[in-house]
């Protein structure tokens, strides 16, 4: 039985717990260690919960064939094959230990998406808190099973997936005796138009599977992040880069450090803003703004004993006295005392 809340690096992800933000560095390090460390710095500065890289090797991810994905063809017009493209973006695996140590130092949970079983084993030896499964690997059940056997939570992206594919992936996790999995709804496309985000599917997935659900975002800006919080999502992943103008397939749709900081800020603000479902006057409103509401006042001097008419009354600010709804209960009664024009009417002044 999969749990409604998963534990990642000492943090709980699920309903009733803080929204979990992963800054996805992907391959935006461009095989440069300084850039990779800079990405970790930027994620930490933005206030993300985790930073994530990707561990694939060209040999283990793609067949040596000539066809190129149209997006890659567009990004790498001169590359001979997909294999060549992946080879040019590989994260040197010997870096992982240092990147994790640096993330630990910066107080970030270090995550890395394994794209093959060896990557899982290597990452496991480094002490990962969880494993991300990329959308493309939702159907790679052998990899999912292998990662599930670590006993660590699996954070599974579901771009292109339907309920059946998700069900099979979660079933594979549970079959290994692992009770912790979270899902990301995702629209692949780099970037997808907002009309393709279908964020309501987050609710569908929560209802269908009873596990934490979030969104893995390839869209631009921070709208999807805020909406995911508002829809009751539990986690979020955002591609980020030190500069969107760097060369590489993920840079153009990645958010820059300032944007990532704005996203985390927005998420935290939205969490606070959702608050309570109870509709009521706040104590701060009572203290500060009752002055702006209206009460019943004397419009003219009303001598003691006079029968009060509508003309003798005005409904004015502040709202600290008798509410306007009592007007008809005041009219027709006698003044118990002399009431001066512009004085508030109170029950004490009425006979």
């Amino acid at each position: 039985m999969l749990r409604p809340v998963v534990q990642v690096g000492g943090k709980s992800i699920g309903d009733g717990h803080p929204f979990f933000v992963i800054a996805e560095a992907s391959s935006n390090h461009n095989r440069d260690m300084k850039t990779a460390l800079g990405l970790i710095d930027a994620a930490a500065a933005a206030g993300a919960d985790a930073v994530k890289f990707q561990a694939f090797t060209a040999d283990k991810i793609v067949a040596r064939m000539r066809e190129k994905h149209p997006y890659i063809e567009h990004m790498f017009p001169h590359a001979g094959s997909m294999h060549e493209v992946y080879a040019s973006m590989e994260l040197p695996r010997e870096w992982l230990k240092d990147l994790k140590a640096y993330s630990d130092e910066r107080g970030l949970i270090f995550l890395c998406t394994p794209f093959d079983e060896e990557a899982v084993d290597l990452l496991e030896s480094l002490g990962m808190a969880a494993y991300k499964i990329a959308s493309y690997e939702l159907w790679h059940l052998p990899l999912i099973r292998h990662a599930a056997r670590t006993g660590k939570p699996l954070l599974i992206s579901t771009g292109m997936g339907n309920l059946q594919a998700i069900e099979e992936a979660l079933g594979a996790v549970a079959a290994e005796g692992n009770e912790q999995a979270a899902l990301f709804h995702c629209a692949i496309n780099y970037p997808p138009p907002f009309t393709e985000l279908n964020l309501r599917a987050i609710r569908t997935m929560k209802t269908a599977f009873g596990v934490p659900v979030g969104y893995s975002d390839h869209s631009t800006g921070i709208t999807a992040a805020i909406a995911t919080v508002a829809l009751g999502g539990n986690l979020f992943e955002k591609h980020f880069t030190l500069s969107a103008s760097m060369p590489g397939p993920d840079h153009p749709f990645s958010i820059e450090p300032e944007g990532l900081a704005a996203l985390v800020r927005g998420v935290r603000e939205c969490e606070q803003a959702l608050g309570s479902p109870i509709k009521r006057m706040l104590e701060s409103e009572r203290a500060g703004y009752l002055m702006g509401r209206r009460s019943i006042f004397a419009a003219a001097d009303i001598p003691a004993g006079a029968r009060i008419t509508r003309e003798m009354l005005a409904i004015l600010r502040p709202g600290t006295g008798l509410e306007p709804k009592h007007l008809d209960k005041v009219i027709g009664r006698r003044a118990a005392t002399d009431i001066r024009a512009q004085d508030p009417i109170t029950w004490e002044k009425i006979a």
Partner: protein
């Protein structure tokens, strides 16, 4: 939503539905009958038995049409305590409607664990506050009221420092008609007030109670009598012990039926797969060398299961290395 504990039993999401046998004034002021009602209620599986407590002179003016009846309904403090003690002996909780301040005092004195406020008092801040200060759970009967009035009542109680509130949806008429029940309001209350919600059922059968459970009710209050034919008071929509017991049983069964929201085939269903899912068999006698196609392969029930329809593409187009008889299972061993 936080659960509210009624005499030690939590009422809230995921908790068993709390059932109250509402004796109301069916005892007609006869303490022996009231005692019998407590004893009978204890045999029904109800969690609590309830009566109504009023001090006639604090509750109504003498000219009010029911004033004389209210006078006749009066029990002494000792008599109330005897009812409460008897309920405790029999393992059923005891509670009352407190209809005026002296009734609150009386039941605080004898330790009645929780109260219900009558719908007529939801716009009476004085009694709401007074009951709230007794510092025990309050059930709010919301018949006749509007959302704003319920909000007002809740605010009065919470302002007095009492957060232990259970709302009871229910139409105030005797009897209520099915068309008057509007059970969907139960969810509305839960959403807007974020508190446990129950159902006050004044219909003459148990359909609304059962449907109410399905609609999210966390408590059910139903009128109860030991003798409907005696037509004492509050008998119109009351169930007799055997009927009440049946309702409680049905509620427990309905609760079991509600189960889990996640769609997962049960072990029994998984067993049914073995006998109702289909396998690929020869549609006719197929000689060795036959190429398997959708035309000569049929999907039929048989046990045990063989290759299923989802895996048909893995054998279509393959050549049989041996003959297979009509209705015999197609296996990988039959293929080249």
């Amino acid at each position: 939503m936080k659960p509210v504990s009624l005499d030690g039993k939590p009422v809230g999401p995921g908790e068993p539905i709390y059932v109250i046998a509402e004796g109301a004034n069916n005892h007609a002021g006869d303490h022996k009958i009231a005692m019998q009602m407590v004893e009978a209620a204890a045999t029904t599986g109800a969690d609590a038995v309830k009566f109504q407590c009023m001090d006639a002179d604090e509750f109504a003016v003498p000219a009010y049409e029911w004033y004389k009846v209210y006078q006749q309904l009066k029990f002494s403090k000792q008599q109330w305590k005897d009812l409460k003690d008897r309920a405790a002996e029999l393992g059923i909780s005891f509670c009352v409607d407190v209809l005026d301040p002296p009734s609150v005092d009386l039941h605080v004195d004898i330790g009645t664990p929780f109260f219900r406020l009558h719908a007529g008092d939801l716009v009476n801040p004085f009694l709401l506050r007074y009951a709230a200060q007794a510092d025990r759970p309050l059930l709010l009967h919301t018949g006749m009221t509007t959302i704003g009035e319920i909000e007002f009542a809740i605010d009065c109680i919470t302002a007095a420092g009492n957060e232990q509130i259970v709302l009871l949806h229910g139409f105030q008429d005797h009897p209520s008609l099915h068309a008057d029940m509007h059970l969907r309001v139960i969810r509305t209350y839960q959403e807007i007030f974020d508190r446990p919600v129950g159902l006050n059922d004044h219909t003459t059968d148990t359909v609304a109670a059962l449907a109410g459970l399905g609609a999210g009710a966390m408590a059910i209050e139903k009128h109860f009598t030991t003798d409907r034919a005696a037509k004492r008071y509050d008998w119109v929509s009351a169930l007799e012990p055997q009927e009440f017991r049946k309702m409680v049983e049905d509620l427990r069964s309905a609760e079991t039926c509600m189960g889990n929201a996640l769609r997962e085939p049960s072990a029994k269903e998984l067993a049914w797969r073995e006998t109702t899912r289909k396998s690929l068999v020869a549609r006719e006698d197929l000689p060795a060398g036959t190429i398997l196609t959708e035309e000569n392969v049929a999907m039929k029930r048989r046990t045990p299961l063989g290759i299923g329809p989802l895996d048909a593409p893995s054998i279509f187009g393959k050549r049989l290395v041996r003959a297979v008889k009509r209705n015999d299972l197609l296996t990988l061993e039959d293929l080249a």
